[in-house]
């Protein structure tokens, strides 16, 4: 039994989700091998080789792997799949994009977004926007799984000494090509791995008002998130969205400001350790999950909070 983890990275360094996925892999019996597919990604391979629990790092370096397109990655993973009992990737947009293709080519029913491992073939995963937890047994010979990063504590990035081995790239796919990307630039911590998150909703009123939350976030070393309402209103870009269809986060402290707390938003943040809600509507559903609730006008309270910190 050996587990293959597909690394998420940007060719320079591995994302935090990769180390959480390795952590999940180490809960299975057998060794953990990590595949780094990319272009000029040797540094990433060396970084992952140092992580705890990794026995070997495979590197597939080719120009067409630079943007990790699903139509290229799937055949590469399938080509080496024979040697592995479990294949894991983070349940980020990266993993969600290509892993079901791998599963289909291997004729396997994928298990998505697991949050716990009960045994080598029994896994727990949330369904219905996190309102129920299903325990699922896979009867497929090979398990193809995506891992919810917040369900597993990342392995230490130092102390390991895995071997690095180059593997052959497959031909580029003819069905899909990369055109461009527009990435959000931010100095703040990345949303899914932040220790503290300050999120704003429709109650913020405008995009300009988010500067208030940004100031608060900077004081707390926090990332800034948003509800779907705030994204749809154009206050902030969509990759700020926390929820069933946005990012799933579980920080130590989540401060929800002007967010009512719809089912779909709660799905993305209710595993946070401490939840603070600031809302002027005392009936808002967010207060049902909040550890500390403050019924007040956010425009008065946020500057006060800023001063108090």
């Amino acid at each position: 039994m050996t587990t293959l983890v597909i690394a998420e990275h940007n060719n320079q360094q591995a994302q935090a989700s990769t180390f959480s996925t390795i952590a999940a892999a180490t809960q299975l019996s057998g060794d953990t091998v990590v595949l780094v597919a990319g272009h000029n990604c040797q540094a990433t391979a060396e970084q992952i080789a140092k992580a705890q629990g990794v026995s070997k790092v495979l590197v597939a370096d080719a120009e067409h792997y630079a943007h990790l397109l699903a139509e290229d990655l799937d055949r590469l993973v399938v080509a080496i799949a024979e040697d592995y009992s479990h294949i894991l990737a983070p349940a980020s947009t990266f993993g969600k994009n290509f892993m079901p293709r791998v599963a289909a080519l291997l004729d396997v029913q994928q298990i998505s977004e697991i949050t716990a491992i009960d045994s080598d073939d029994v896994f727990e995963r949330p369904v219905y926007a996190g309102n129920a937890i299903a325990t699922v047994k896979s009867n497929d010979a090979k398990k193809v799984i995506t891992v919810r990063a917040t369900g597993f504590d990342a392995v230490a990035e130092e102390g390991g000494s895995a071997t690095i081995e180059a593997i052959e790239a497959k031909e580029a796919s003819a069905t899909s090509s990369y055109v461009g990307a527009e990435l959000t630039v931010s100095e703040r911590p990345e949303l899914t791995s932040a220790r503290v998150i300050v999120s704003g909703g429709r109650g913020m009123g405008s995009g300009e008002n988010f500067t208030m939350l940004e100031a608060l976030a900077d004081k707390l070393g926090a990332a800034v998130g948003a509800s779907r309402a705030a994204v749809d209103a154009g206050f902030v870009p969509n990759d700020y969205q926390v929820g069933q269809t946005g990012k799933i986060v579980a920080p130590e402290l989540y401060i929800a400001v002007g967010i009512s707390g719809a089912i779909q938003h709660l799905a993305g943040m209710k595993d946070s350790k401490v939840i603070v809600a600031i809302n002027k509507d005392e009936e808002a559903p967010i207060f049902q999950v909040a550890d500390y609730g403050l019924v007040a006008d956010l425009f008065k309270v946020i500057p006060e909070l800023n001063d108090a910190l």
Binding site: P100, A104, E182
Partner: protein, 249 residues
Amino acid sequence: MKILVAIKRVIDANVKVRVNADNTGVETANVKMSMNPFCEIAVEEAIRLKEQGVASEVVAVCIGPQQAQETLRTALALGADKAVLVKSDEELESLAVAKVLKNIVEKEEPQMVLLGKQSIDSDNNQTGQMLGALLGWGQGTFASEVKVADGKAQVTREIDGGLQTVELTMPAIVTTDLRLNEPRFASLPNIMKAKRKPLEELAVADLGVDIAPRTETLKVANPPARQEGIKVETVAELVDKLKNDAKVI
């Protein structure tokens, strides 16, 4: 070109689901069912492509029980030309759904298949990608913009760090994200007209597709309940609690 849209009937997004007493699933008796919200966006996009003159025909397909016919009638009322119901009383896994859809694609020969990015019941986010792999087609998942020209589709995708654009050779798969469009409502005259549009019924057992389940659900449980919180009166009290009780700042 012809577009195939795959839609699913799910528990309405606004229903607070309850785990059933014997922990085998969630309560579905007398619960409001609707078209999966991401599927509504897929139907809307197909109709817009038809209105732009890019698509010539829109076929909606749904796999489900007899009642799923209502969901297909909704798609027809919104502007789909024809519907296909693949009857199955069992809930199929996404691999089986992808195999059934492949069978329908081979019959209908569309140039594009539109699906939602995930269904809000199983939250799997797999079917479109699996169908892409089984057909050997390219895919534009989590699409927030779709442009079709010269036998190619340019799809802007919502990814974790922002947006990414890919170009796909047709035929291709597109799965829709929330921001692709704002779905329209069906008007009463269109709902009446939809009743006369063709709706073909097939039985999943007659398609010769391997739909045997690969997984077993051992248990469905409520998520761990959070401890009841407290209301604070002032900012000072909040800061004090966070510093001294919760110790998170």
